[in-house]
């Protein structure tokens, strides 16, 4: 009990209010996506033309779309495809990028030079452009888009990993490990990589948000996820509804995309140890703070009282 409490407190101080809020929101979205068949009130693909553009009611909590599919259910199932794509992109990018980054940081010299320049080269290519090109070659679909974005996202993740690993590489403890007779693999993976996990996770969260946005854009253009499948990007492209004035049909998935990306970016920044901007920081309660709480910042409290 005490342990859980302690853990909770630490999480709270690491993430801060904005980070905790983001994490909570993401947890809800993720749970909804995983448990979609259980929590969705209806089949997302079940149409009934009688309910076309039905307003919110007991039968359809958020209303229904142009062919009478339940909007809430489509949003919930849409979370699945919308999160799966970026998860694959980030996963593949990390899988390819981390070994390259560790290799570069360990050996340095020309190995580092070549790998770093290749990263820079790929970094200069816009991911969306690469995805559009791939789709032009292999036809639309989630797979070609994910493959293209995975490659495009390697430098975004690996450059940060390389920089952090380089910093560890020159730490004295790495020399000490080498003298104990450990090999390269052991030192880089079990020690260096382990020590930079926060940086990797933070950057991965931010990349996840960007990849979600990119894939939604591609789906919106009809290049990734295809129409009848429930997906936030596809749903935003429902221009028919917009033209007929049913703006909520488009706004709801759009809002979910924006909020998810925002939450991921905030959370990612907080995990990798970035301070939140001043306007997001909690104001200190004036004089009511308990003494134990104020101990860290005595001087400001005294100054404010004077």
């Amino acid at each position: 009990m005490n342990r859980t409490k302690h853990l909770w407190k630490r999480l709270n101080t690491t993430l801060g209010r904005s980070g905790m809020l983001s994490a909570a929101f993401l947890a809800v979205v993720l749970l909804a996506a995983i448990l979609a068949p259980l929590v969705a009130p209806a089949d997302p693909n079940q149409s009934s033309l009688l309910d076309a553009y039905a307003g919110p009611s007991g039968a359809h909590l958020l209303g229904a779309d142009g062919i009478g599919r339940d909007l809430l259910s489509r949003l919930i199932f849409g979370a699945r495809t919308s999160l799966l794509g970026p998860a694959l992109v980030v996963g593949v990018s990390l899988l390819l990028g981390i070994p390259l980054a560790l290799l570069a940081s360990w050996y340095g010299g020309w190995v580092d030079g070549v790998i770093a320049r290749v990263f820079d080269l790929v970094y200069a290519l816009p991911g969306l452009l690469l995805a559009v090109l791939t789709v032009a070659l292999f036809g639309p679909g989630l797979t070609p888009a994910v493959v293209a974005l995975s490659i495009a996202y390697i430098p975004f993740l690996a450059r940060i990993v390389r920089a952090a690993a380089r910093q560890q590489r020159v730490s004295p403890y790495v020399d000490a490990l080498a003298v104990q007779g450990f090999g390269v693999l052991r030192i880089t993976v079990r020690h260096i990589l382990r020590n930079i996990v926060p940086v990797v996770v933070g950057q991965a969260a931010i990349a996840f948000g960007y990849a979600l946005l990119d894939l939604a854009s591609l789906s919106y253009l009809g290049l990734a996820v295809q129409a009848p499948t429930a997906d936030w990007g596809v749903m935003v492209s429902d221009s028919d509804a917009l033209l007929k004035g049913y703006w909520f049909q488009v706004l709801a998935p759009g809002l979910l995309i924006v909020l998810t990306v925002l939450a991921l970016t905030v959370l990612g920044a907080r995990i990798s140890g970035e301070k939140p901007p001043g306007y997001l920081r909690r104001k200190r309660p004036a004089q009511t703070a308990a003494p134990a709480d104020a101990s860290g910042n005595d001087r400001t409290t005294v100054g404010a009282a004077a």
């Binding site: 340095g108 004295p172 403890y173 000490a176 490990l177 003298v179 104990q180 007779g181 450990f182 382990r194």
Partner: protein, 331 residues
């Protein structure tokens, strides 16, 4: 005489500079250590003590290159491939670093730090390794070793962490310990304890040791022989019990003269004039000549060869004249 444990001959380390040139950091170091012997390596900052140790463990910076020969139990260290090097580092040499806090991965528990090498390199079971680690922690004078195994490096004091570092070296049971200023980061009382522990356990286990320090008296206390380094060269090598009386090199004499004395009060401590130089800064002759009160024009141009003198090895061209003059002054 038994085969030496460690033998350096003509060890020279050059480091490449940004502008494409190179600078010499170590210049022809010859040293031989018998199994179980303790040798002190004494000198000022930049004299090449740590560079020698780094060369012996092949931890030289990327830009540096070593030539000459380093032999460990007859094996050529500079020529080892990756696998041989790992075996040599695993059971051959153990290194006690100057600053334990920087040399232990801060995010892992002390237990993990102490057992990793045993488990990974020796195939010892985790439970057995932890038991051995606890036993050695007790040996280096740490109370409640079980609790310490579960703590992180930042939770213990510097003195205790240095003991943990020594424990890690003892666990690997190397035949040679390299101690690179193991007590410089500690305060004086802790220093004494740590040195005593290192000295006792080394003797019990019959390990050889190279003890690197800039504290001449400390080296004399724990080592059988002491090598004094200056500007990348060994300038004097002699047994610890006779160094006080028989020191012959002007630099060693200067070091001995600049120590504070317990019974005599002095307005100022005597000091060696000038500042220490690195090997690459020195001219063609004796590197100490610009600071030496005995130097002649010949010292500046001709590098002195190491010569046998009064039971030790001295690298000074005028050693006999200086000795004679000192004897005369004493008489």
């Amino acid at each position: 005489m038994t085969a030496p444990l460690l033998e350096l001959s003509g060890l020279t380390v050059d480091v490449a500079t940004e502008d494409g040139g190179s600078r010499t950091l170590l210049d022809g170091v010859d040293l031989s250590l018998a199994p179980g012997e303790a040798l002190g390596l004494v000198g000022e900052s930049g004299s090449g003590k740590s560079m020698t140790m780094r060369a012996v463990t092949r931890l030289l910076p990327r830009a540096a290159s070593a030539s000459g020969s380093i032999r460990f139990e007859g094996a050529d260290v500079l020529g080892m491939n990756a696998g041989e090097l790992r075996r040599y580092r695993d059971g051959g040499v153990g290194l006690v670093f100057q600053d334990p806090r920087a040399h232990i991965n801060p995010t892992r528990r002390i237990g993990a730090f102490l057992t990793e090498a045993l488990v990974r390199n020796r195939g010892v079971g985790r439970r057995e390794a932890l038991a051995r680690a606890a036993a050695v922690l007790a040996e280096v004078g740490i109370d409640d070793p079980q609790r310490r195994l579960g703590q992180y490096p930042h939770e213990v004091s510097g003195g205790m962490l240095q003991r943990v570092m020594i424990a890690s070296v003892l666990l690997a049971e190397p035949r040679l310990i390299l101690a690179d200023e193991p007590t410089t980061a500690l305060d004086v009382t802790i220093q004494r304890e740590v040195v005593a522990i290192l000295d006792r356990l080394r003797r019990e286990r019959g390990m050889g040791m190279v003890f690197i320090t800039h504290d001449l008296d400390l080296a004399l206390a724990v080592c059988g022989r002491v090598a004094v380094m200056y500007a990348g060269r060994i300038v004097e090598l002699r047994s610890a019990d006779t160094l006080h009386e028989r020191a012959a090199h002007p630099y060693t004499l200067g070091l001995l003269g600049s120590r504070p004395s317990i019974d005599a009060r002095a307005e100022r401590l005597s000091a060696i004039p000038g500042r220490p130089v690195s090997a690459f800064e020195s001219g063609p002759g004796c590197a100490f000549a610009p600071r030496c009160s005995f130097a002649t024009a010949g010292c500046e141009s001709e590098p002195p060869a190491p010569t046998e003198f009064d039971g030790g090895l001295v690298r000074c061209a005028r050693v006999e004249e200086i000795h004679a003059a000192r004897m005369e002054a004493k008489a």
